[in-house]
Amino acid sequence: MDTVGSRRRLRGRAAVLAVVAVVALLASACGAGGRPSGEEGGAQPGLTPQSVKVGAHFPLTGVASPGYSDIPTGTKAYFDYVNAHGGVHGRQIEYVFRDDAYNPTQTSQVVNELVLQDQVFAMLGGLGTPTHSAVLDYLNSEGVPDLFVSSGSLLWDQPERNPQTFGWQPDYEIEAKIIGKYVAENFPQAKVGLFLQDDDLGRDAEIGGRRFLDRQIVAAERYTPGNTDVAPQIAALQAAGADFVIGFNVPSYTALSQLQSLRLNYDPQWAYSNIGSDPALVGSLLARFSEGAVTDAGLLDGVITTEYLPSVEAAGDPWTQLFTRVWQEHGTDAELTNFRIYGMAEAYAFVQALQAAGPDPTREGLVAAVEQSGAQMEGPWLAPYRYSEQSHAGISGVKISRIVGAGTEDLTPVQVTDNGDAPITPHPGPASTPPANGIPVPPTG
C-alpha cells in the first residue's frame, strides 16, 4: 500500500513538472512573439510601383465549372494585353485566380489565401451567390475592394453594410422587369409561365417579372438545381396553358427544359434570361445532328433573350473585334466564347477603375473612384452602371433580342431601369466604341 502511495506521489510530481515545463515554454513564447507591430502607414497590400495584384475565385473544377471556368481566362488575356501596352500608370496587373469548385467552404479558403498570402490589392469578379456570400463579410471587414461580383444577386448592392462590394452585371430583378414589360407590351394576350431556379436567381426574377406580368402569369414553376428531372415543372406549365414561358435558369437547365418540352410536344414561345441562353453554348444544341431527328435549325432558334454585352457572334461589333484581337494575341488555343468576353469586359471595367483611382491608388481610393466616376464609365456594356455612394448596383439595363442561328437579332433598343418601381426607359445616346488601342482612356484632370 505504501509503495503504491509513494509511486502516486511521484507521478503527481511528474505532473507538476510538466506544468512547470509548459509555463517555461509559454514564457519563451512571449519573447519569441514580441516583434514590433505597426508597419509604415501608407503601404498598400499588393501594390508596388511596378505592379498591382488582383485576385478572383471561380469554379475551375467540378459541376459548375463548364462555361464559368472560361471567364477568368478572358480576364487574364485582357490584362495581359494591357500589360503588353504598358499597364496602368506603369503598373503591370498581376491577376491571380483560384479554384473554389463552387463550394463556399473552399471559397473562404482560397480568398483567405488571396488576401493574406498573395496579398491582393483588390478582388475582381468572384463568381457565385452562395460562394461569394461566404467571403462578403470577410472582404469588407478587411477593407479589400470587392469589385464586380460575377452574379446578378441583389446582395452586392448594400453600400451601407458592404461598402467594399460592387455588383456588375444587371441584377436578375431588373432583367426580369425589362423582359416583363416587353412581354406585356408585345404579347398582351399571352398566358405567361415562369420557369425558375429555386434560389435567389428565381426569387429576384419573379419579383421583377411580376411587376408587369402579374395579371398574365398563369404558372410559376421552380426546379431544384442538381435535380435533372424537370419533367414535372414543364408538364405543369403545359397543363396551366402557358403559351409564353420565361426561364430564369442556368444553361444546363435551358437544355433540359427544351428537351422536356420536345418530349411533351409543348411548344410555347420561350424566353430565357441572359444567364441561361448563351446561344453559342446551348443554341447549337442538336443543330448539327438533326437529320431526321429534330428540325434542322437549332432548338433555341427564335427564343427571346436579353443581352448586355456584345456577343461573340456579332462579328461586326467593334468591341467583339477588339476582344477577338486580344484573344488571338494573349489567349489560349481554345476559341473565344461569350464567357471569355464577359471576363474581358470585367477586366476592362477594372482597368478603368484603377485608372480613375489615380497614379497612387489606395484601396479606399479605388472604391471611391468607382463610386464617383463609375456611372460615367463607358465600355462594352450596353447600358451604364448605377454606381454612386448610395448604390453599388452594376449595369442598369439590357436589350431584348431573338436568337437566330448561332447569333441574335435585336428586338428592342437598350432599356435601362433600376430596382423597385423605377421606370423603364430606352437608353439614349449612341453605343460606345472602343478606343483605338483597346485600352480605356484615363480620365483627364
Partner: protein, 383 residues
Amino acid sequence: MAVPVRNSESDEAGRSVPPGRPRPLDVVRRWLPRSTFGRHALLVLVGAVAVVLVLETTSPFRNSQFATLSYYAIAAAGLTVLTGLNGQISLGHGALMAVGAYTTGLLLGSAGPPPLILVLVVAAAVTAVVGVVVGAAASRLHGPYLAGATLAFAIAVPGLAIYFDGVLGGEQGMQIDSPRAPAWFADAIYFLSANEMSGAKYLAYIGWATLLVVLLLLANLAAGRVGRVWRAVRDDEVAAELAGIRPGPVRVLAFTVSAACAGLAGAVLGIVVRLAAPSGFTIVLSLGLLTAVVVGGLGSLTGALLGAALLVFLPPAVTNLGTAAGLSGVAAAELAPLVYGVVLVLVVLLAPTGVVGGVRRMWQSIRNGAGRSGVGGNGRERS
C-alpha cells in the same frame, strides 16, 4: 500534437517485448502519469502549448489554414473512430457536418445568442441524436450496403436546407456571425506573445481548442474498454457476441460518437467559413474526410490529423506547382483533383496502412533490426 492510439490491423509485426531489457520509451513512460487521464491530459497540454506557439509565430494566412485544418481534423478524428476502430464506412459525414453547421447558424443567429461553448455542445448533441438514428439504421448494414445508405444520406440532407429555405436560407445558405474574441482572451494572448488578436487567429484558437478536447476524449475512449470492444466488433462480430457484446448497440454507439465529432466539426466550419450552404456539404466533403482517414492511416488519431493536413495543404501546393510548371490556371486547378485521386489509389495499393502505419512499420523494423535477432516479430504464419 499527437495522441497515439494503440492499433491495429496494420500492425502485423506485432509488438515484441524483449524480456528484461527496458525499451528506451519505458524511461520516458516512467515519468508519465499513470492514470489514462493524466497521460492524455499531459499530451493535450503539450499540444496546447504547441498550438499557441504555432499560431503566434505564423502568418495570418497560415492561421486561417490552421483554422480550416482544425475542422477537417475534428471530423476525420471522428470518422477514424467509426471506420478505423469500428469498421463501419460512412460516405455521409459531410451531411452530419451540415447538421452541426446549421445548428450553429441557427443558435448564433438567434436573438441573444448563447455562449460559444454552449453552441458547440448543442451542435454536437443535435448531431449525435441524428447519429443515433442514422447509426441505428446503419448498424444492420455492411460494406457496400452501408456505403450506399450513407451516400444517399449525404445527398439527401442538403436538399432539406432548400426545402426549408425560410429557416435555413435555401441554396444561398445561412450567414453565420463569427464570434469575436472576448477581451480577456485577447489580453491573455497579448500578454503571452505581444501579438494582437486577429479574427482568423481567434477562429483558429476555437478550432484547435475544440480539436484538442475531441482528441483527448477520443483517445480516452480508444485506449480503454470502449475502443477495445469497437475493434473486437470490427474484427469478428460472432466472437464478440460470444463474449457477451451486442454488436448492434456497439455500432450505434460508435456512430453516435463519430456523429458528435462531425457535428462539432460542422460547428467550427460554420464559424470559420461564416456560412452554412448546401453547396458546402456535398459528397465531395464526405469523400475528402474518408480520404484523410485512409491516407493518414486507418484507426489512428494521429493519422486523422495528418490526413486532414494533407487535405488542406496538398491541393493548393499541387495547383501552385502546376502553375509554376507553366500550366494554365484552369488546367492547374484540375491537376489538384487528379493528384488527389491518384494519391488515393496509390496509398491503398502501396501503403495500405497509411502514413502512420508506414512510419510505424519502419520504426518497428529499425527497432527489431537494432535489437536482437531471432523470434522477434515474425512468428510462423499459418497459411
